[in-house]
């Protein structure tokens, strides 16, 4: 899975910013990239924010269709997470909670 490794607080802040980009436009919060605790692997204890091509190109709304990349706030949020070149690829098993 491709995305950002960051602190739980920063992952939440990124999702809050995505939420605000929607509510600022009078929209409900219908889409978030998500923030997933990492339970195993080299990044255990941190959070994962998905940011693969599928996420970047999620068809959100409108005609013509708008994706996250069509919103100006998007570049700011990506910068806050370290930029697209700082993304990593982790195993999906790293975010599986062993207690569930």
């Amino acid at each position: 899975m491709i995305g950002f490794i960051t602190s739980p607080a920063q992952a939440q802040a990124a999702n809050d910013a995505v939420a605000q980009a929607q509510t600022d436009r009078g929209l409900p919060v219908f889409w978030l990239p998500g923030a997933y605790p990492i339970f195993s692997g080299e990044h255990v204890g941190k959070s994962f924010v998905p940011c693969d091509d599928a996420v970047l190109n999620t068809p959100l709304l409108g005609s013509p269709i708008m994706t996250p990349q069509d919103f100006p706030e998007f570049s700011q949020i990506i910068t806050s997470l370290g930029g697209l070149n700082s993304r990593v690829d982790i195993l999906h098993t790293d975010i599986i909670n062993p207690d569930q």
Binding site: R25, W31, P50
Partner: protein, 270 residues
């Protein structure tokens, strides 16, 4: 700040059921085109529900067929929106998670919407079953042993729980179609399945003592176990919940849902 594109005003809706019109308007306000056939099908669904007397018992119905996150997130009953998270594919007729990060947070809780241990129903329309052999949840919420959900336990067993003791109702190899688990008393659970060929009972159980349902947000395409649990890659065309429906009412609902989904998508239920 970027301005949103101008969306066409909603169809005037002469003759449409008011609840149908409200849902159609909500979908169109996201910039989604709703065809005349789809409007007719949606109107028929609402009207049939009121004629059959199951509509008033519905609490959340999602119809994620529109190919876009915003209209897919709209509840047909309240016209409020849940939230998609992670990697979700929005296709014509269904949504599909990635079995890792993708899920839908309904943003509401079954007890808040009036479901109780002796009155509640969960449902999901599974176009294509999960591709793996391990556990995956279509819809649900969990607080320890307090479970309300529909899941596959393996690739050959569909399972429902409406329990404060993790009691499972096992339906066998029946992972596709429209699945409903209903409680109309504390002493009975009814697990049913509708395919194109008809509707059947796939399992029943005796229930348990009265309890208060799990109070975390309900998820679809996964379950909420105070965090994401068992995300699925099944292709889902609808999901939601209601107060308890008798077998005959549940069957009337799933027949109407089948007709709605097939007409709006031109796909066929398995």
């Amino acid at each position: 700040m970027i301005a949103l594109p101008h969306f066409r005003p909603a169809f005037a809706g002469i003759g449409l059921d008011p609840d149908a019109l409200a849902y159609i308007t909500a979908v169109e306000n996201t910039g989604t085109s709703v065809s005349a056939n789809q409007k007719t099908a949606i109107n028929s669904f609402f009207k049939q529900g009121k004629t059959d007397n199951w509509f008033s018992l519905m609490r959340r119905i999602y119809l994620p067929i529109w190919g876009l996150a915003a209209p897919n997130a709209i509840d047909m009953i309240s016209n409020t929106s849940g939230t998609f998270n992670g990697t979700v594919t929005h296709s014509a007729g269904f949504v599909k998670g990635d079995r890792s990060t993708g899920f839908f947070d309904l943003g509401t809780r079954m007890p808040t919407d009036g479901l109780t241990s002796d009155s509640g129903l969960l449902f999901c329309l599974v176009k294509v079953a999960d591709t793996l052999t391990t556990g995956a949840s279509m819809i649900g919420q969990t607080s320890s042993i307090n479970n309300q959900l529909i899941r596959q336990s393996t690739s050959s067993n569909i399972q429902a729980r409406y329990s404060n003791a993790s009691l499972s109702v096992n339906g066998g190899n029946a992972r596709t179609g429209i699945l409903t688990i209903s409680s109309t008393s504390n002493t009975a659970r009814s697990f049913r399945r509708r395919l194109s060929s008809g509707v059947t009972s796939i399992a029943t159980s005796s229930g348990e003592s009265a309890f208060t349902l799990s109070s975390v947000n309900c998820f679809a395409m996964a379950r909420n176990a105070s965090g994401l649990s068992e995300p699925t890659n099944a292709e889902l065309g609808s999901y939601g919940y209601a107060l308890g429906l008798s077998d005959s009412s549940a069957d009337a609902f799933t027949l109407a849902l089948k007709t709605l989904w097939e007409t709006c998508t031109t796909l066929n239920l398995p």
